[in-house]
C-alpha cells in the first residue's frame, strides 16, 4: 500500500553472494541486458555493470566488490513498491546465471525524509523526552544539546535492523541525497532530464525527520529473496510509522 513518504524516500537493495563469480559476470550482464533491456548500460569490464532506465528512477548494479553483488537503487519507495515483481525477476536471473544458491547477506535499506513544518531546533527539542531522556539529563555532558541522532540495532520479524533517526535541515537533507552513490546515474543528463533534481527539490522544501533503516539477513537461500522483499517492505512501513508516532508523541 502506498504511503505519504514514498516520494520522499530512497531505497536500496543488495544481495551479496558468498563467492566471487568474476569470470561469469560478463555473461550474466549480457543476459540481464538482453532480457530486461535497460535504456543504457555503464560498465567497467568484469567489475561493475550499471543498468539504467531513464525517467524510471531505478538502477540495477551488478558488481564484484570482491564477492559478487546484485543491487538495486530507486529514487522513491513507490518505484520499489510498484516494481517488486520485476526486482524478483532480476534477482532470479542473476542467481540463475551465476548458479548461486545462497546469498551471504541480503539487505534492504530505506532513507526517508519525512517533511515537517517545524524548524530544525523544534525537531531537535522533540527528540528529548521521546527517543532520548529529558534534555536536563544531558546537561552534565553538554550545556545545550542539539541536533541529536539516535541509532538502534536490533531485530524485527526475523531480520536484523540498524535504525538511525535524526532531525535534518534542508541543507543536511540536500547533502544526504546528493552524496548518495549513483545519484547522478538516474538521468542521462541533468540538463534534459530533471527527474533526480525534482526528487532533490521535493525533499528539500522543508526540514525533515530522517529515518535511515537498514534491514538485513545473513545466509539466505536465493529462493527466499521474494519473501524478504515483502517482509522488509512491511517492516519498513511499520518502523517508519512507529518512529513518526514516537517523534510526534502520538499514540502507537
Amino acid at each position: 500500500m502506498s504511503q505519504p513518504y514514498d516520494q520522499y524516500s530512497m531505497a536500496f537493495f543488495a544481495a551479496d553472494f558468498p563467492t566471487d563469480f568474476g569470470n561469469k559476470l560478463p555473461a550474466c550482464a549480457a543476459a540481464f541486458n538482453a532480457k530486461f533491456k535497460p535504456d543504457d548500460l555503464q560498465f567497467r569490464p568484469s567489475t561493475t555493470y550499471t543498468f539504467q532506465w531513464w525517467k524510471q528512477r531505478k538502477l540495477a548494479i551488478l558488481q564484484n566488490v570482491p564477492g559478487t553483488r546484485i543491487g538495486y537503487q530507486t529514487l522513491g519507495l513507490d518505484v520499489w513498491r510498484n516494481n517488486l515483481q520485476e526486482f524478483v525477476e532480476y534477482t532470479n536471473l542473476v542467481a540463475g546465471e551465476l548458479a548461486a544458491e545462497e546469498c551471504k547477506r541480503i539487505g534492504f535499506k530505506t532513507i526517508a525524509f519525512l517533511p515537517q513544518t517545524m524548524t530544525h531546533e523544534e525537531m531537535s527539542d522533540l527528540f528529548f523526552g521521546t527517543f532520548l531522556s529529558s534534555v536536563d539529563t544531558w546537561r552534565n555532558i553538554c550545556e545545550s544539546p542539539n541536533d541529536p541522532i539516535v541509532q538502534l540495532n536490533g531485530t524485527i520479524d526475523g531480520m536484523k535492523l540498524v535504525l538511525n533517526v535524526t532531525p535534518s535541515t534542508i541543507e543536511q537533507t540536500l547533502t544526504s541525497v546528493t552524496s548518495q552513490g549513483n545519484f547522478d546515474k538516474f538521468v542521462k543528463s541533468h540538463v534534459s532530464d530533471s527527474t533526480a533534481i525534482d526528487f532533490a527539490r521535493r525533499v528539500t522544501v522543508n526540514s525533515a525527520f530522517m529515518v535511515d533503516l537498514d534491514l538485513y539477513k545473513d545466509a539466505t537461500p536465493t529462493s527466499g529473496v521474494a519473501e524478504f522483499f515483502d517482509a522488509s517492505l512491511n517492516a519498513t512501513d511499520k518502523i517508519i510509522a512507529s518512529c513518526k508516532n514516537t517523534f510526534l508523541s502520538k499514540a502507537q
Binding site: 515537517q116 513544518t117 517545524m118 524548524t119 530544525h120 531546533e121 523544534e122 525537531m123 527539542d125 522533540l126 523526552g129 521521546t130 535541515t169 534542508i170 541543507e171 540536500l174 546528493t178 533534481i197 532533490a200 527539490r201 528539500t204 522544501v205 522543508n206 526540514s207 517523534f247 510526534l248 508523541s249 502520538k250 499514540a251
Partner: protein, 218 residues
C-alpha cells in the same frame, strides 16, 4: 489582491514617467514589457510546446545560499511542535496520576501529588510562553483544560485524588490531551462541567489557603 486594469494603467504611466529620462533602448518600457507580467511573459518553445514562464515555479539554487524556510527560526513556534510537546507532557502527567495509587492511603499523600501538579504547571508555562508572540493561540484550549486540572489540586483539592474514580476521570482527560491533534473549545467546556460534576474545583474563586500554592500559581 486584485489590481484593476485602470490602476495598472495608472501605475504603468507613473513608472514610464519616472523612467522618461532613461531612454536607453534596453531600459525603455515597451508595451511587451508592461507590468502585466502574466500576459507578457516570454514563451519558451520546447519541442514544439509553448511554456509560459510566468506559470513555472521559481528556480531554487542548490548552492550554499540561504534557504528561505530556515529563516522561520526567529518566528513563533509551529503548531505541530506545540501539539507534540503538549501530547508528550500530558502523557507524563497522566502516568504520574496513575502512579498515585501506590500512595493513596498515605498520610503525606500531598507530597506525592506534587509530581503530576508540577508537570501540569510546566506544561501550562511552556505552552503559554511559547504562544506569547504568536498571532494565533494554537494551544489556548489545552492551556484552559490544564489550568482547570491544576486548580482542582489547589485548596486541599489534592485530597480528592485519593479516590480512584477521580484519578480515572482526570487521567481520561489527560489522555485526550495526550492524543488529540487539536483541542477544541467544546472539549474545554465539557471538561469544566465534568470537573464540577465530580465536585472538584476547576476554578479557584476564593483565596488560596495554602501559602505554597499561592507562590506557584502560574
Amino acid at each position: 489582491m486584485q489590481v484593476s486594469s485602470t490602476d495598472r494603467a495608472k501605475t504603468t504611466a507613473l513608472v514610464k514617467e519616472a523612467l522618461a529620462g532613461f531612454t536607453t533602448g534596453a531600459m525603455m518600457i515597451t508595451p511587451a514589457m508592461d507590468l502585466d507580467t502574466e500576459a507578457s511573459a516570454p514563451m519558451i518553445p520546447i519541442k514544439g510546446l509553448q511554456y509560459n514562464t510566468a506559470n513555472l515555479p521559481p528556480i531554487r539554487s542548490f548552492g550554499l545560499g540561504k534557504f528561505e524556510n530556515e529563516s522561520r527560526a526567529q518566528q513563533a513556534p509551529s503548531s505541530t511542535y506545540l501539539a507534540a510537546k503538549r501530547r508528550s507532557l500530558c502523557r507524563r502527567a497522566s502516568q504520574s496520576i496513575v502512579s498515585l495509587e501506590k500512595w493513596q492511603a498515605e498520610p503525606e499523600f500531598v507530597v506525592w501529588t506534587q509530581e503530576p501538579l508540577s508537570i501540569i504547571r510546566s506544561a501550562i508555562k511552556f505552552l503559554d510562553d511559547a504562544e506569547q508572540f504568536s498571532e494565533i493561540e494554537h494551544e489556548g484550549n489545552s492551556c484552559e483544560v490544564l489550568r482547570q486540572i491544576r486548580d482542582s489540586f489547589l485548596n486541599r483539592g489534592w485530597n480528592r485524588y485519593r479516590d480512584f474514580t477521580i484519578r480515572q476521570a482526570i487521567t481520561r482527560i489527560l489522555d485526550r490531551l495526550a492524543s488529540e491533534e487539536v483541542i477544541t473549545a467544546e472539549f474545554a467546556s465539557d471538561t469544566m462541567d465534568q470537573l464540577f460534576d465530580l465536585s472538584l474545583q476547576p476554578v479557584v474563586l476564593e483565596a488560596l489557603r495554602d501559602a505554597d500554592e499561592e507562590e506557584d500559581d502560574c
